[in-house]
């Protein structure tokens, strides 16, 4: 399989591309397994972002990998042992695809049977994600926010440096010579953004949600930057604005919970957000998903700018 090739390859660039293929296989597998939301997320967030960042890193660190000196005995032993343990554990698991395994009873059947009545949302994954286990999603948002903070602290560049290097450095100059790419992206970017908005707001009825939408929207912005140069993007936004939006999304989500508390109910209880509980649920889910979308877009785009900006600064032409 792809993975074995990755192990043996020494060319990192090829490894990354193969990883993309592996990711694509996974996403397809997820879709086949009826896990449509997961497939969308893996495709949009998992693969796209990892590949993008890996390639960015590679442009700085180089393609080649050194031949390893040590003999990997210990690693093989550990790996074998872990794998054996895992296989041992699967012996008592129910067979593949069984509908009566314990995992599908209990909590899951509650969600399937009651969720539409209690939340009015057709996509069960969205109702669980945003309402029943909304606090987990807030935590998840904080995780990606933390990563954003971490990357800013590690790879910070001043706005001024970005502006000056943005014009001079060839790395981020607009791709003026690639006519086809320019024209195609000019046409596509607005549609990508529109699609992102669709995914954001359609999560009630089909696969979608803030994370995927955020990633898609960010990718539109990144495409714009790639084609038209860093200078053009900096005309629209700045790192301070991105930090502001990153914080704003988290505050929006967390704030929705506070509103519930002010109504004398527990944190993140959407029923009390409107006069009718179902309306409240819709409103609550809308608000929190919006918060997610805003922060994810801001953080992912900020990641891209941080990576690029930092490397620009180092390669400053003499």
């Amino acid at each position: 399989m792809t993975v074995f090739v990755i192990i043996s390859l020494r060319d990192l660039f090829a490894s990354i591309i193969l990883m993309g293929v592996y990711g694509l296989f996974s996403a397809s597998f997820f879709a086949l397994m009826d896990a449509v939301d997961v497939a969308l997320t893996e495709a949009a967030v998992g693969i796209a972002v990892s590949i993008l960042l890996l390639l960015s890193t590679l442009s700085f660190t180089g393609r080649a990998e050194k031949k390893s000196r040590q003999k990997p005995f210990l690693a093989l032993i550990i790996v074998f042992f872990t794998g054996a343990l895992l296989v041992y554990g699967t012996f008592d698991l129910p067979p593949f695809g069984s509908a009566t395994s314990p995992a599908h009873q209990h909590v899951a059947s509650y969600y399937i049977n009651e969720s539409y009545g209690e939340t009015g949302v057709a996509n069960l994954v969205s109702s669980v994600l945003a309402s029943y286990r909304g606090f987990d999603t807030l935590g998840e948002l904080v995780v990606i926010f933390t990563a954003g903070v971490g990357v800013i602290s590690l790879l910070s560049t001043s706005q001024k440096a970005l502006k000056t290097n943005g014009t001079t450095n060839k790395l981020v100059a607009p791709m003026t010579t690639h006519h086809i790419l320019r024209i195609v992206s000019k046409m596509l970017i607005p549609f990508i953004m529109l699609y992102a908005l669709y995914v954001q707001f359609h999560s009630d009825f089909g696969p979608g949600g803030g994370f995927q939408a955020g990633a898609i929207f960010a990718s539109a912005l990144i495409l714009y930057t790639l084609m038209f140069g860093l200078q053009a993007t900096l005309a629209i936004t700045s790192q301070s604005w991105l930090k502001f939006f990153a914080a704003l999304g988290v505050l929006l989500f967390a704030g929705t919970g506070i509103i519930s508390m002010l109504q004398q109910h527990n944190y993140l209880n959407y029923n009390v957000l409107a006069s009718d509980p179902i309306q409240g649920q819709h409103l609550g889910i809308l608000l929190v998903e919006l918060g997610v979308g805003i922060t994810v877009t801001a953080v992912l785009f900020q990641l891209f700018i941080s990576f690029t900006g930092y490397m620009l600064n180092i390669r400053r032409p003499a």
Partner: protein, 120 residues
Amino acid sequence: MNVAESFNYWAVMILMMSGLYILIAQGNLVKKVIGLTIFQTSVFILYISMANITGASAPVISEASSQTNLLFSNPLPHVMILTAIVVGISTTALALSLIIRIKRAYDTIEEDEIHDMDAQ
């Protein structure tokens, strides 16, 4: 235990072990991150395959489904994996930023070379 039925578990195990092996044994830091990602993704595949119900449809209720009383796939593992994917790329992003800084500071990203430089 029917081996054919547990095929998916075997496949996952191989993936997981490969990812783990890359993580531990290979010296290049970027390669290690790739290994980590493979390892994590294989865990996701394990979850989703365990959650699958043969003959069920995606967990979205629509007009058609509510009438025919179809079997639905379990939404909870989907939620968990979705979250885990996001956590995974957050970690990857942080790891890669560290690698860029390390490259700047040490001029190499091979583990043994860094180790030598630190030992001095």
